[in-house]
């Protein structure tokens, strides 16, 4: 299998300068990016074995003595390439606020309680089919200083690697039907509506665990497609 990484796929991403998100104007380049051919350097990337992920790293509800407060959820899905093929053995890292919308990070001063039983960090590796699964707590919305009365919709941060350095992705997963979507410049920085909706997980009734946890499906698509397209009718 030889994958290629056409540049035009990047149209899904937000622009680097998006004035509605007030931290972007001083942190985005003003000179043109230099177009270059991808070389072996860009077409390779880190490969990690299962030693990176310890048993239980995928379950954010069992990292402490007691159980965290909040709504227990399963978040699962597939990591695929642009041709729809599962990306096997790739690392996912997640981090998130607790059920009250508070991060354990020292800089987060939102006056909502911390939960001594919740760190909010997890790690998983996809299986041979590109499938991953986390167990966690539904994060709360939280305020931020971008504009008056600004609130981030509830989200889980994701970091994913893929096959090559060019497939690296850091993103955020949202929950369906959040009333804060229309007010959030980070969510709305994605110009195309269809692409934006790919950031929203789907409620997955079929995979809820009765009497235990609701389930959300979040499928992730990374750069990479067949060098030789399949013949179809």
């Amino acid at each position: 299998m030889t994958l290629i990484y056409p540049r035009e796929s990047n149209i899904a991403h937000p622009p680097r300068l998006f004035p509605g998100y007030k931290s972007t104007p001083k942190r985005s380049p003003q000179k043109p990016l230099i177009l270059m051919r991808q070389t072996l350097s860009e077409l390779t990337g880190p490969v990690y074995g299962h030693e990176t992920v310890r048993p239980g790293d995928h379950d954010l509800t069992t990292q402490h003595k007691g159980e965290p407060l909040g709504e227990r959820i399963i978040v699962h899905g597939h990591v695929r390439d642009e041709a729809g093929r599962g990306v096997p053995n790739t690392l996912l890292e997640i981090w998130q606020a607790n059920a009250c919308g508070r991060y354990i990070h020292v800089v987060d001063q939102h006056p909502a309680p911390l939960d001594p039983n919740f760190t909010g960090a997890g790690r998983a590796q996809t299986d041979a089919d590109g499938y991953y699964r986390f167990v966690t707590i539904k994060p709360g919305a939280y305020p931020w200083g971008n504009h008056p009365n600004a609130w981030r919709p509830a989200h889980i941060h994701f970091s994913v690697f893929g096959h090559a350095f060019v497939s690296r992705l850091v993103t955020q997963m949202y929950f369906p039907g959040d009333p804060l979507f229309e007010f959030d410049p980070i969510f709305n920085s994605v110009p195309d509506e269809k692409a934006r909706l790919r950031l929203v997980s789907n409620f997955d009734l079929a995979n809820t665990k009765p009497d235990w946890a609701l389930c959300y499906r979040f499928d992730i698509v990374l750069r990479g497609r067949d060098a030789t397209p399949m013949e179809t009718k």
Binding site: K26, T39, T52, A195, V221
Partner: protein, 200 residues
Amino acid sequence: MADQVILGLTPSQTVGPYFAYGLTPGGKYAWNDAFSNDLVTPDAAGDRIRVVGQVFDGDGAVVPDAMLEIWQADAQGRYANPRDTRALPNASFKGFGRCGADANGGFSFDTVKPGVVPDPDGKPQAPHILLTVFARGMLLHLYTRIYFGDEAELNAADPVLALVPAERRATLIARRDPDSATYRFDVHLQGDDETVFFDI
């Protein structure tokens, strides 16, 4: 007609201000680091080097909440990835590192100086390290390359550096400390001395 079903990419979103406890906890949180800024393995051949620098924004202010990742070949010019099929000696050197910026926007990597790797035409590329920068206020990470100031001859023939306007090339060259194997590479996200970033 050849046709392929193409799925749209999952869009990027900012790493935000609060990634450190998950991605670069560094002993400060109840979580372990998956990656480190020390890439050196005991069996790694080649010159051991340190790359240090700071990240600055468009006002020249330091960016304390940046995360930097590097990817590089080993000293023989081999990538620890199945796509690199050249029969070159390999070590347990993996070539990937991650560092969270400190309060002064500072970062450092301990590694070995990478060897020469070919471009798509088989022409040698000067030794280089790939660098990606993530931060709050960056909706999509930026991608650049670290070249080495003491490789003037190879740099002059490098096909990627040749794409960069001559007056901006210096932003891609790490300067070697005269007294140690330490190279300095600052990242300017914006401004007169803005670092060259690549569209790949």
